[in-house]
């Protein structure tokens, strides 16, 4: 066996920091979020290009802006509760961390519920992906974002369960922070989508 081939991974080596000084899972999440930026850029860019290049209906004539504004408020609130959960576990208060995790879960679930209601209402009134370019791009963009929220809600439920089992401490809470990064990114994308798809 050559010297190079003899190099193996030792799982017992406790290397909790990368050469960058950033924990592995946080770095991984940031790299993933960068790929997500490109994914949503593709969707948003396509939407803008299509919109400039064709006749487009006024979104406010089809979509319920008030309801979606309220839903945006809910998602922003859930982002605040997520970051407060992180703050409280860092401050050494797991009880408040659990409370804010539950509130975040509630916010995410409510956002999804309102989006399902909105879809049902729009489809019931004949607005679907087949009806127009606006319909197809609307359901593609908000659908993919909704899927991201769904994934986030599942992960928040998982981490909330772990929080109630006492798995997070002021010293070890990287999971909450990594999940928080994803959740804030989902909020950030919605901020852009709300302005471009609903208000413009």
């Amino acid at each position: 066996m050559t010297e190079a081939a003899a190099i193996t991974f030792d799982p017992h080596v406790d290397e909790d920091r990368t050469s960058t000084g950033i924990p592995h899972d946080k770095m991984g999440m940031w790299v993933f979020l960068c790929s997500e930026v490109m994914f949503f850029t593709g969707l948003i860019g396509s939407y803008i290009v299509l919109r400039f290049g064709s006749v487009w209906p006024e979104p406010r004539h089809t979509l319920n802006i008030g309801l979606t504004a309220a839903n945006t408020f809910i998602l922003i609130c859930s982002s605040v509760t997520m970051v407060k959960a992180l703050e409280w576990i860092q401050r050494g208060d797991p009880r408040k961390m659990k409370l804010f995790m539950v509130l975040t879960l509630l916010g995410g679930t409510t956002f999804l519920g309102v989006q399902v209601f909105e879809y049902h209402h729009l489809l019931h009134h004949g607005f679907n992906p087949h009806v127009s370019l606006f319909g197809s791009t609307f359901f593609t963009m908000t659908g993919f974002h909704g899927f991201h929220v769904f994934c986030g809600v599942v992960c928040i439920a998982w981490c909330t369960g772990k929080a109630f089992l006492g798995k997070y401490t002021p010293e070890h809470h990287q999971g909450i922070e990594t999940l928080g990064l994803y959740w804030h990114f989902v909020d950030l994308v919605w901020i852009i989508l709300f302005a471009i798809v609903y208000l413009f």
Binding site: T20, G21, I22, P23, K26, W30, V31, L33, C34, S35, V37, M38, T41, G42, I44, G45, S46, I48, V49, F52, G53, E58, R60, I65, A69, T72, F73, I76, C77, S79, V80, M82, V83, K84, E87, Q90, E177, G180, L181, H184, F185, D187, L188, I191, I192, F194, A195, I196, L199, F200
Partner: protein, 95 residues
């Protein structure tokens, strides 16, 4: 967080900014509904400010190592270039 000694930001103040900017967006959309250029300009500015607030304070980019900011900003810049090229294709007159 990587920099464990940093000050915790005032998240509630950021929340009020985000809420206020959302209300400004809604008001702007109603006021400028007949002027698409002004509407788009206002919406882009408020959306970008809100996105920056979320990234800097909730995602802690302000307190993180610069590497993460550079990593994230590079994809945003690349994305902005791609979108600009697409818009240019549609808006600019063809030879």
């Amino acid at each position: 967080m990587s920099n464990d000694t940093h000050q915790i930001p005032n998240y509630i103040a950021i929340f009020w900014w985000l809420l206020g900017l959302t209300l400004v967006e809604l008001g702007w959309a109603v006021l400028m509904e007949h002027s698409k250029l002004l509407l788009a300009s206002g919406l882009v500015i408020t959306a970008v400010v809100k996105a920056v607030l979320v990234a800097m304070y909730f995602m802690h980019l302000k307190m993180e190592r610069k590497l993460l900011g550079i990593l994230f900003a590079s994809t945003l810049i690349l994305g902005a270039i791609l979108v600009s090229v697409g818009i240019g294709e549609q808006v600019l007159p063809r030879p």
